[in-house]
């Protein structure tokens, strides 16, 4: 259904099952992301969106299913291998290191990059993209506002120079104005050629940014639609999201 359907997807997730201990959380999630796209996963709280991202980034092991990235099987790889492969995961609730400075946070985002000069160059690029972070370079991340922390979390994720950026609820807890800024940033990042997989509660914002969206419901992918179709079909949305 996308114009790039002829090319193989950069990321394909096939029928993954994931459990927390003995409690199953995902019962078959499948979707594809093509190069240069912004794809959204939407769905009610507890549907399994964050769990899906955690499985891709290697924080959680699969019970079954397959994950392929750029043609390689990355299922059950440890997180450092997944980062090295080119996937960055910006987690829900930001998770910046509170007692480290903004600059230390950024520097550690490029932990796998051995060259100091290269890391510094990437930090320079982060400051260029997020001027407010440059002003706060020596400030402890824990003292930043929620919006600034979110910007830092995104900037840190970009420090590994991923080809696929996974964002989990980047607008959570932000004012509408801040949320708009965050989505502008996401558009700009995508504009620079980074493929984006976006998880959002704020459906209308998500559908605004994304070209396609998958609806996740109780651990399963229920529907894949062009974002525009979902946006213009409130009935469908309500049916899936129960809102």
């Amino acid at each position: 259904m996308s114009q790039t359907a002829t090319q193989p997807p950069v990321l394909s997730v096939e029928q993954i099952h994931v459990a927390y201990g003995s409690t199953a959380a995902l019962h078959g999630i499948s979707f594809e992301v093509h190069k240069g796209e912004t794809v959204a996963l939407i769905g009610a709280n507890g549907a399994g969106k964050s769990t899906t991202l955690r499985a891709i980034s290697g924080l959680l092991k699969l019970r079954s299913g397959a994950i392929r990235f750029e043609g390689r099987d990355i299922a059950n790889q440890p997180p450092d291998k997944v980062v090295a492969a080119g996937i960055a995961h910006c987690p829900e609730e930001r998770h910046v290191w509170p007692a480290m400075t903004v600059e230390e946070n950024l520097n550690l985002g490029a932990f796998l990059c051995r060259s100091r000069a290269e890391r510094e160059q990437r930090i320079g690029m982060a400051y260029h993209r997020f001027p407010r972070l440059r002003e706060r370079a020596r400030q402890l991340a824990g003292t930043l506002s929620g919006g600034e922390q979110q910007m830092l979390a995104i900037a840190r994720a970009l420090m590994s120079e991923p080809s696929l950026l996974m964002l989990d609820e980047p607008s959570l807890g932000l004012s509408p104005k801040m949320a708009d800024e965050v989505f502008d940033v996401v558009r700009a990042i995508n504009g620079h050629g980074v493929t984006v997989l976006l998880v959002e509660q704020n459906i209308y914002n998500a559908l605004d940014v994304a070209s396609r969206a998958y609806v996740v419901e109780t651990g399963r992918t229920r529907a894949a639609r062009p974002a525009a179709a979902l946006r213009s079909d409130p009935e469908l949305l309500r049916a899936y999201l129960g809102g």
Binding site: A88, P91, V96, W97
Partner: protein
């Protein structure tokens, strides 16, 4: 007054070793949330190994320091990799039970191998006193303290300025974020445990060059290290240093002016006071984490 200065000096010297040992404990607790009851046995092993290398094999003191550090670091890595790793994420109780078991095991194996007698580590310098104004210090003590301070500075630099140190702080503050940045959290844990064991062992070796090493000393050392960590604040680097010096000075003054026989009690008096008036310790660990 002169006597007071002498007691103070003695206290600061002992305190430096308490600090070094407690630094290891506070790192392991602060980062890994493992309450290491075998810490005193690591200290004891440092002394016994130090005796083995210097007195038994006749090796140079500084070479022996390096060997003890290498052996104990490897030992710590193995224990973490093969034993503590299995308990990760299971809460604190399994770790406590495990380290208590480990302490009993290590103490008794050592007793079996080298026996209960005190073992002397041959120091780097000959016996002999230095007079600094009214204060008398042996060269041996001065030397040992200098090495201890150098080790503390090196540890601080490691934590502040190296990639490993950054990875340790990141893992301590947010392990998930550390994983997602490509830090191998399991390795950071192993390195931390190894560092903690090494610091305890070197403290034990240095102090055994002044006094002596003994297989049975571990329990008391663990207790004193816990006292220092509680005084300073769990997981706090400056807290361990200040807490160690404080305990050393308090013991020395108590022993000098009040009662020699009950020196080991003073630490617990301090702990009770601190728990009553400042339960988070002198330095709360949130500001200057590890």
């Amino acid at each position: 007054m002169d006597l007071f200065l002498q007691f103070l000096t003695n206290g600061l010297i002992n305190g430096a070793f308490y600090a070094l040992s407690a630094l290891g404990l506070t790192l392991i607790f602060g980062l890994m949330r493992v309450v290491n009851f075998a810490h005193g046995e690591m200290y004891m092993l440092g002394g016994v190994l130090g005796w083995f290398f210097t007195t038994h094999l006749g090796l140079n003191f500084f070479l022996s320091v390096a060997l003890v550090a290498a052996v104990m670091a490897a030992f710590g890595l193995l224990i973490d990799r093969f034993l503590i790793e299995r308990l990760r994420g299971e809460g604190e109780e399994p770790g406590i039970l495990f380290t208590i078991g480990l302490s009993i095991f290590l103490a008794n194996v050592t007793l079996l191998v080298v026996g209960p007698a005190p073992l002397k580590v041959a120091g780097a310098v000959p016996e002999g006193a230095l007079f600094i104004g009214p204060i008398i210090v042996t060269k041996l003590r001065l030397m040992a303290v200098a090495v201890g301070i150098a080790l503390m500075i090196a540890t601080h630099a490691l934590i502040r300025h190296t990639r490993l140190g950054q990875a340790m702080r990141a893992t301590f503050q947010d392990p998930m974020a550390a994983s997602l940045s490509g830090i191998r959290v399991a390795r950071v844990h192993a390195a931390t445990f190894a560092l903690g064991c090494t610091l305890a062992a070197l403290s034990g070796m240095l102090l055994a060059s002044i006094y002596s090493a003994q297989a049975s000393v571990g329990g008391l050392v663990s207790l004193k290290s816990f006292v220092v960590v509680i005084l300073g604040g769990m997981g706090s680097f400056p807290g361990a240093v200040v807490g160690g010096l404080l305990l050393g000075v308090a013991e020395s003054l108590w022993g000098g002016y009040v009662a020699t026989g009950m020196v080991d009690v003073i630490g617990f008096v301090l702990v009770i006071l601190i728990l009553l008036f400042r339960p988070q310790g002198l330095f709360s660990s949130s500001s200057e984490r590890a």
